[in-house]
C-alpha cells in the first residue's frame, strides 16, 4: 500500500468528505491561497472554490461561533484554528454554546462541527504556540475529543468526526505532520471511541497519546531487547474513551504507564489512571500506576529546555523498568 504523510492524510480525508457531501465546508484563517498555516489545505481552494474553502479574517470568536450557527442549521463546518493555543479565543462558542445546545434545548438540534487544530511542542514556537490543552475540552460534556497519532488513523478518524452529529475537537500534532505510514486510498471511517493496540505485550502497558505514541513504540522495542514485552495502547479519542481496551490490557500485563505531552498536573493521564484504579484491573496491578506528562511550565523557546519539558523515550523505559522490577525497586527505595 502507498505511504503518505499525516498531513496529506488529513487533506485527503477533508477532500473526500467535501466531494461526498455538499454540506461540508471549511473556514479558517489563511486556508485559501496560503494553504493553511501548516499547508493542510494546499490545493483545496483550487478544487472547491472560495465558497467552500472560506478564508476568514483573524477573528477566532466570530469564526467559531459562525461554525456553531451553521452546524445548528444544517451545514457541517470544519473549522481550522492555526494553533490550538488560540482555542482560548474560541472557547465560549465551543464550551458554552456548541457543547450545550442539544442538552439545554431538551434534545432538540445538534451541532455537527469539527474544530481541527495543530497542537504540541517541538517546533521552537514557544509558550503561546506549543501547548497541549486537550484536557480542557475533554472535561466538557457535549464535546468529543480526538488525538490521532499517525496518518492512517487521522484519515479515518477525521471522516468519523465530520460524519458525527456532535462538536468534535480534532487535534493534529505538529511534529507528526511529516511522518508517513500506509494509508488506504479509499474513504474509510474509524469509529470514535475505539482504542488501537499499536503493539502487543505481556509485561506492561503504556497508554500513550499523539506524539507520545511513536515514542512509546520506540521504548517498547528497546525494552524488548531486554526481554520486557510492552503493550502500547493508543486511545485515539479521549472522548469517548475506550475504557474496555485499556482495562483488558492492564488485566493482562498488570502494569500501567500513562504518557502524554500535556502538563502532567490535571492532564488526561489522571483520568486514565483513575479509570484503572476504579476498575476490575486494579486487582491485577503488580506495581503502582505511573504517569509521565509535561513539566509544569509554559513551553520554553530554547530547544534543550523545550525538549526537557516533554517525556522522552528514556523516561518511558525507566518507568516501565521501575514497574517491572517494582519489588526490588521498593526494597532499594523503601
Amino acid at each position: 500500500m502507498r505511504e503518505i504523510t499525516y498531513l496529506e492524510a488529513v487533506r485527503e480525508a477533508l477532500s473526500q468528505e467535501m466531494r461526498e457531501n455538499e454540506d461540508v465546508f471549511m473556514l479558517g484563517e489563511d486556508i485559501g491561497v496560503y494553504g493553511g498555516a501548516f499547508g493542510v489545505s494546499r490545493g483545496m481552494l483550487e478544487e472547491f472554490g472560495s465558497e467552500r474553502i472560506r478564508n476568514t479574517p483573524i477573528s477566532e470568536a466570530a469564526i467559531s461561533g459562525t461554525a456553531v450557527g451553521a452546524a445548528l442549521t444544517g451545514m457541517r463546518p470544519v473549522l481550522e484554528l492555526q494553533f490550538s493555543d488560540f482555542i482560548t479565543i474560541a472557547m465560549d462558542n465551543l464550551v458554552n454554546q456548541a457543547a450545550k445546545i442539544r442538552y439545554m434545548y431538551g434534545g432538540k438540534g445538534s451541532v455537527p462541527m469539527v474544530l481541527r487544530t495543530p497542537s504540541g511542542s517541538g517546533t521552537g514556537a514557544a509558550a503561546q504556540h506549543s501547548q497541549s490543552l486537550e484536557a480542557w475540552v475533554a472535561h466538557v460534556p457535549g464535546l468529543k475529543v480526538v488525538q490521532p497519532s499517525c496518518g492512517s488513523d487521522a484519515k479515518g478518524l477525521l471522516k468519523a468526526a465530520i460524519d458525527d452529529n456532535n462538536p468534535v475537537v480534532f487535534y493534529e500534532h505538529k511534529t507528526l505532520y511529516k511522518t508517513s505510514d500506509h494509508v488506504p486510498e479509499e474513504a474509510y471511517s474509524i469509529p470514535l471511541g475505539k482504542a488501537d493496540i499499536k503493539r502487543e505485550g505481556t509485561d506492561a502497558t503504556i497508554v500513550a497519546t499523539a506524539a507520545m505514541v511513536p515514542k512509546a513504540l520506540e521504548a517498547a522495542s528497546k525494552l524488548a531487547e531486554e526481554g520486557i514485552e510492552t503493550e502500547v495502547v493508543d486511545p485515539r479519542t479521549l472522548v469517548p474513551l475506550d475504557k474496555e481496551t485499556i482495562v483488558e490490557s492492564v488485566k493482562k500485563t498488570g502494569r500501567l504507564l500513562v504518557a502524554h505531552e500535556a502538563v502532567k498536573r490535571g492532564g488526561f493521564g489522571g483520568e486514565i489512571a483513575s479509570t484503572i484504579a476504579e476498575s476490575e484491573a486494579f486487582d491485577f496491578l503488580d506495581a503502582p500506576i505511573m504517569r509521565l506528562g509535561g513539566a509544569e511550565v509554559p513551553i520554553p523557546y530554547n530547544p534543550n529546555l523545550e525538549k526537557a519539558t516533554v517525556p522522552s523515550v528514556e523516561d518511558m523505559i525507566d518507568s516501565v523498568k521501575q514497574m517491572v522490577h517494582y519489588d526490588t525497586w521498593r526494597e532499594n527505595h523503601g
Binding site: G124, A125, A126, Y301
Partner: protein, 325 residues
C-alpha cells in the same frame, strides 16, 4: 519628497536614521540565520516597516510604554532595547532578554517600558489599556503606545479595548501598522472600508491615516495623539500604511501578492526616503549617512558575536520563574 520637521536637530535625525538601519540589519541578519538553520522556531520580520516603529517611539518619553506584536523587533529597537540581548534571545541564550525562554515573539524589556511582543494576534489591546489605567490611577503621567496589525484589527479584542479606552479616557495611542496583509489575507478582502482609522468614529476618538513609510509623517501624527493622551483627553487611533518586504514568517511563497506590487512598495523604501530628504536639505552629507549605516551594521555584527559567545541556559532553569516569589 518627505518633509523634515523644523524642530529636529541633526543629531536627533541621525539617531533616528541609525535606528532605521539597526532594525533593517537586525531583521535581515535574523532572516539569514533562519535560512541557514542557525536560529530555530519562527520569526516575523519588519523589513520595510521601519518608519512606523521609529517614528512612533521617537515622540515618547523614557517612562512611556509600548505593547508590541509578533512582528516586534523594530518596536523593541525603537524603544531603546539592547541589541545584544535581543539577538541572544533569538539564539536562545541565557544572556537573552528572556533568558532563552521566550524567543522572537516574546521579547520584553520592562525597564525600558516595552511591555512585550505578543504571539497572540490582538493580545496587546487590552493590556495597553491596563497599563494606561495604571498611569491614570497612580497619576504617573505616562502614555502607552499599542502597536497592532491590520489583521489584528479584526479580533474582537480590538473593539472591546477601544471602546473601554474611550469611555475611560485612557492615555493609549493605538497604532495600526497596516502592511496590507495578515499572514496572507489581504486587507481589501478582509475589511470593507478603506481606512482602518475610520473605525475611530465608532468610539468617538480621533483617527488619522499616515504614510507609514514616512518617518516624519508618523512622528507628527503620533506626536499629536500622544499629547492628546498626556493631557487627559483619551485615546486615538493612528493608521500607518506600509508594507512588509519579506514573507509573513521566515519565508513564504508569497502567492497571495504580486511581484509588481512588491516592487512598487520597495520603491517607497522608508530609509531611502529619509536619507534623500536629509541630503536634499543639506542637513547631512553622503559620508555622514554612510558612516551611520556602517555603524548600525557593526552593532548588529557585534550582537551576533555576543550571542555566539553566550552560554545556553542551564537545564535547571527549566522550572524557574513559573511563579513570582
Amino acid at each position: 519628497m518627505i518633509q523634515i520637521p523644523e524642530h529636529l536637530s541633526k543629531e536627533r535625525l541621525l539617531d533616528l536614521y541609525e535606528q532605521m538601519w539597526l532594525i533593517r540589519y537586525f531583521d535581515e541578519k535574523v532572516d539569514e540565520f533562519f535560512a541557514k538553520g542557525m536560529i530555530h522556531g519562527t520569526t516575523h520580520l519588519a523589513v520595510g516597516q521601519e518608519a512606523s516603529a521609529v517614528g512612533s517611539c521617537a515622540v515618547l518619553k523614557e517612562e512611556d510604554k509600548i505593547t508590541s506584536t509578533h512582528r516586534g523587533h523594530g518596536h523593541c529597537i525603537a524603544k531603546g532595547a539592547d541589541i545584544n540581548k535581543m539577538m541572544a534571545e533569538l539564539f536562545g541564550r541565557e544572556t537573552g532578554y528572556c533568558k532563552g525562554k521566550g524567543g522572537s515573539m516574546h521579547i520584553a524589556d520592562l525597564d525600558k517600558g516595552n511591555l512585550g511582543a505578543n504571539g497572540i494576534v490582538g493580545g496587546g489591546f487590552a493590556i495597553a489599556n491596563g497599563a494606561g489605567l495604571t498611569s491614570r490611577m497612580k497619576d504617573l503621567g505616562y502614555v502607552v503606545l499599542c502597536f497592532f496589525g491590520d489583521g489584528a484589527s479584526n479580533e474582537g479584542s480590538f473593539h472591546e479595548a477601544l471602546n473601554l479606552a474611550s469611555i475611560w479616557d485612557l492615555p493609549v495611542v493605538f497604532i495600526c501598522e497596516n502592511n496590507q496583509y495578515g499572514m496572507s489575507g489581504p486587507v481589501k478582502d478582509m475589511i470593507n472600508i478603506e481606512h482602518i482609522a475610520s473605525r475611530s468614529g465608532s468610539y468617538g476618538i480621533p483617527g488619522k491615516v499616515v504614510d507609514g513609510n514616512d518617518v516624519f509623517d508618523v512622528m507628527n501624527a503620533v506626536g499629536e495623539a500622544v499629547e492628546h493622551a498626556r493631557e487627559g483627553n483619551g485615546p486615538s487611533l493612528v493608521e500607518c500604511k506600509t508594507y512588509r518586504w519579506k514573507g509573513h514568517s521566515k519565508s513564504d511563497a508569497k502567492k497571495y501578492r504580486t511581484r509588481e506590487e512588491e516592487k512598487e512598495w520597495r520603491d517607497k523604501d522608508p530609509i531611502k526616503r529619509m536619507k534623500e530628504a536629509m541630503l536634499e536639505k543639506e542637513i547631512v552629507t553622503e559620508e555622514e549617512v554612510e558612516e551611520i549605516k556602517q555603524q548600525a551594521k557593526r552593532k548588529i555584527e557585534e550582537s551576533v558575536e555576543f550571542s555566539k559567545e553566550s552560554p545556553e541556559p542551564d537545564l535547571s532553569t527549566l522550572l524557574t520563574d513559573v511563579y513570582a516569589d
